[in-house]
Symmetry: C2
Subunit: 222 residues, 2 copies
């Protein structure tokens, strides 16, 4: 069985967990705290980052974009990219939007400050970062609202890896209560549908000792 | 003819220019200064980043990873990814290494501080960033040396997008004289071969007003 080295509240790990679950690939989850710089883990991924996927053949794959493309190439059903090259580029652009821009402007400001710093004993959250993250998430939720106009999924009529990438980030922030859902009903409706998918079950069962999830985190009718 | 909105010293733009040239796709280069937040440009890419490729059909594509995959899918020759899925994952891992880890640890510390800040009138370079970048580049050049042991290219026996991504970053830093080549002969030899490829010609002809390139920048026998 493949193994995934991961952290429960890493959006990049969650994206891959969602991909694996959508493609019905069973996986053994192994929690890894990258800041501990465990030598055996650095041998698997010298970049020292999660996720790392160990395939059934024992190959260690890292970088979530590379792992996703590998899974899409080797287990094509159900497809998480459209068939048309221009539409594929649009879906990958949106993945870049969430994994780079949203990550820098929102996730790192909120999640790194609130959770990772405490876990890795790096000090207290920086108030300026928390404020910037809380302001920036609104711009991104506006953009997601715009993307959802006229269709059910972020990149059009079908679920794609763009939805999984966005839901991975938002689910981490939702765990700590940082998503102002009430002001963005279209995004909330989309996320509610995402949460109800079987692929989301394992994420909703995550529990981080010392960091209780918000009340509505695992609630499908939030 | 396709058009590419770019910045001469952006490694992400240079990577795409190298891909286009390897695949012998002629392109019109249009310089765009993203920090000016030109409205017509933001309509092409709401993330406000270069590169943006306008295809011959008028489609605007952004995010360099998405643009690369589009070009690889639509103009397969010469291939810049291997055929085997595990090897493809390894090449994409290395692209992630340079475009994420190297970029954060080296390129942003040196190039952003020295060049972008002055162009965008954001103040003086931060000495702590310059120092961190100069130290970090050595770790990465060690890693590149390790990758080059026993073969000619970073990911094995053939040129791949990993070489183009790495060369794109290093060529920008070489323009401003920030690469300690003498201490890393294997990497210098690899870069010397890269520089001699026809795809590199347009990069070596780049000239940024107010920022003269180092003497050896365009020299093939440096």
């Amino acid at each position: 069985m493949p193994r995934l080295y991961h952290l429960p509240l890493s959006p990049f790990c969650r994206k891959i967990r969602l991909v694996l679950a959508e493609k019905r690939i069973e996986v053994e989850l192994i929690e890894e705290r990258p800041w501990e710089k465990r030598l055996d883990f650095l041998r698997l991924n010298p970049a020292g980052k999660v996720p790392v996927l160990i395939t059934a053949n024992g190959q260690a794959l890292s970088e979530s974009a590379a792992i996703f493309e590998y899974l899409e190439e080797t287990v094509p059903e159900p497809p998480l990219l459209p068939a048309d090259p221009v539409q594929r580029a649009e879906v990958r652009r949106l993945v870049g939007w969430f994994d780079d821009k949203f990550n820098r402007e929102v996730t790192e400001n909120l999640l790194f400050e609130r959770v990772t710093k405490r876990l890795a004993k790096l000090g207290y959250p920086d108030g300026a970062c928390l404020k910037a993250g809380s302001q920036n998430i609104r711009v991104h939720l506006d953009y997601a609202t715009f993307l959802l106009e006229g269709h059910n999924w972020l990149a059009g009529p079908r679920l794609t890896i763009a939805d999984l990438a966005a839901a991975a980030h938002l689910s981490c922030l939702d765990y700590v209560g940082d998503v102002p859902w009430d002001d963005y009903p279209a995004v909330r409706d989309w996320y509610s549908v995402m949460k109800s998918r079987p692929c989301f079950r394992s994420l909703l069962a995550d529990h981080l000792p010392g960091f209780p999830a918000t009340d509505h985190y695992a609630d499908l009718d939030f």
